[in-house]
Amino acid sequence: MMVLRWLPLIALFIAGCSSNGLVRPGSVQVDGLQLRPGTAWTQRGVKGERQWTIDGPQLNALEIYTGIKDGDFIFDLDQRNKRGEGLRYRASMNALELQELIVAGLREAGAIDPESIRLAPREVGDLPGFELELRFANAQGLHYRALGLGFVADQRLQFLLYYAPAEYYFERERREIESLFASLRWTKG
């Protein structure tokens, strides 16, 4: 989400350390995660905050957040402000609180009326985690659906969020996302 919001700035300030390129089907390593995409994606972003897309981020985006430490802002690369308030991850949070944090983070990032419509336990390899399903609208009133998968490894939150317009695109990629999520493993990067 923040990748989108900060796109012009990210392009300006951190172009030097970002890696853009093609993700081919097959086994892929991303910042300590192992994934098995079944189709080709385009990747951009930096370590800890990647965005994959097939048709462009307005139409389908998979955001991969890794290594979120206690006290870090959720959805935000800018971690210079170490103390203080704001939407921060806490190691003491359970899945209900993480769901709450993600919904509030989406709202702060500009999603309108974000709402969680399902939250359930889900293991990633042998690590306990959660999956959730969300809906929200963008500023133009286009309805989006989203699928998330998160778990804590190495005392850090690792979190994937796929979102796409509810009409057509969300369902079209749903099977790909389900199998990507099923393939997800923590490899300790």
Binding site: L4, E85, L87, A104, G110, A111, N138, A139, Q140
Partner: protein, 386 residues
């Protein structure tokens, strides 16, 4: 979030360098529109027309015809002459903010209505913004801004982002914040103008001083590293509050029309408080909630919001405070079922697994189809296994 503040801050700092270098345009007459289509003012209006189109259809707009009619009515009372020129858009954003565009569009954010106490305070805010419109302050700012090429680039990035992607109204409007950084003299002028207007309309002239006193109390404690809404361009200082208070006292009494304002806001308070807490600006929200709880209109949603603030902040002693506040909420007949779920989380953290499990069960009895039902079942199992 921080990057945006840094950017807007830098923009404002840059603009101060050449502030006052441009003579202000003459006041806008009633029904004013730029006639010379090649003028810079017409260009600015054209941009604003685009923004207004996206605002008009934005899902961020609050859909409440009665409240909308009321806002229009109050603006017409404050400014009968400009009644036809102003168009108010109420936007769901938790920040205290209002902005006047040069073409007569006025944005009012829900975070402002949440904080305003009565109709007289609302009328003052509208009157203050009207001054920026009447005196064409935004055009003067635009001319200053245009003198610096980088700033134009920054503004057009913000303008472009408005129409695309998931960037919200807050982000887009913040991108334009430099346009509304009018400076101290124009702010004083707008305050004076707003005060005169509400006095003429029969409103209590002590209302603006009280509003700015409250905003100053919030501004004092807020985390300055986070997005601030109006405070970036309209500093809430003690000086401003006391100046408004002094000027208001000289004008004598008036009516505040508190009850009709409060009655229109009441159905929205729960949602707007939820949005407020969603920012996690704890210190500021706590000052706000203490104030709302001191009002006679304080309802269960306000008390619940205070419990939520303690639970979310979870600083020293907060979980105990959250627990006792949820207890108070759940003793009330209109208590929301979700308070059981939230109290369960607090009880679990305070080492009361059986109390927590009982609360989760109570919540699921009230909402068996809750979206997080499967997760709560797992939490209950863990609590009962421990």
């Amino acid at each position: 979030m921080n990057r945006r503040i840094v950017r807007v801050g830098a923009l404002i700092a840059l603009l101060w360098l050449n502030a006052c270098a441009v003579a202000p345009p003459p006041p806008a007459p009633v029904g004013y529109q730029p006639t010379d289509v090649s003028s810079d003012e017409a260009g600015l209006w054209a941009q604003m027309v685009k923004i207004e189109e996206s605002l008009a259809s934005s899902p961020a707009r609050v859909n409440d015809p009665e409240l909308q009619r009321y806002l229009n009515d109050v603006s017409c009372k404050v400014a009968p002459d400009y009644c036809e020129d102003l168009r108010i858009y109420l936007i769901r954003e938790p920040y205290f903010n209002a902005a006047m565009y040069p073409n007569g569009v006025m944005l009012v954010w829900t975070g402002l209505l949440l904080r305003v106490e009565d109709e007289a305070q609302l009328a003052f805010v509208l009157g203050h913004e009207l001054s920026h419109f009447r005196h064409r302050d935004t055009l003067a700012r635009w001319r200053q801004i245009k003198r610096t090429e980088n700033v134009v680039a920054s503004l057009s990035v913000a303008g472009g982002a408005f129409g695309a992607g998931l960037v919200g109204v807050a982000g887009a409007v913040s991108g334009y914040a430099a346009l509304f950084a009018y400076g101290r003299d124009l702010e004083r002028q707008a305050d004076r103008y707003g005060l005169e207007r509400i006095h003429q309309a029969g409103y209590d002239p002590s209302a603006p001083g009280r509003l700015w006193q409250s905003m100053w109390e919030e501004d004092r404690v807020r985390d300055k590293a986070l997005l601030s809404g109006i405070f970036a361009t309209h500093p809430a200082t003690e000086e401003r509050a006391s100046e408004l208070g002094r000027q208001g006292a000289e004008l004598g009494p008036g009516s505040d029309h508190r009850s009709r304002y409060q009655a229109l806001i009441a159905p929205w308070r729960g949602q707007w408080l939820d949005d407020e807490l969603g920012r996690r600006h704890y210190a500021q929200s706590e000052v706000l909630l203490r104030r709302l709880l001191s009002w006679p209109e304080a309802d269960v949603s306000t008390r619940y919001a205070l419990a939520e603030l303690y639970r979310l902040r979870a600083a020293e002693g907060d979980l105990q405070r959250a627990l006792s506040t949820y207890d108070e909420v759940l003793a009330l007949p209109q208590a929301p079922a979700v308070a059981y779920r939230q109290r369960a989380q607090v009880r679990a953290k305070l080492g009361d697994p059986s109390g927590a499990a009982a609360d989760y069960r109570q919540f699921l009895r009230a909402q068996p189809e809750a979206p997080e039902q499967a997760m709560i079942e797992q939490l209950i199992n863990q609590l009962e296994g421990s």
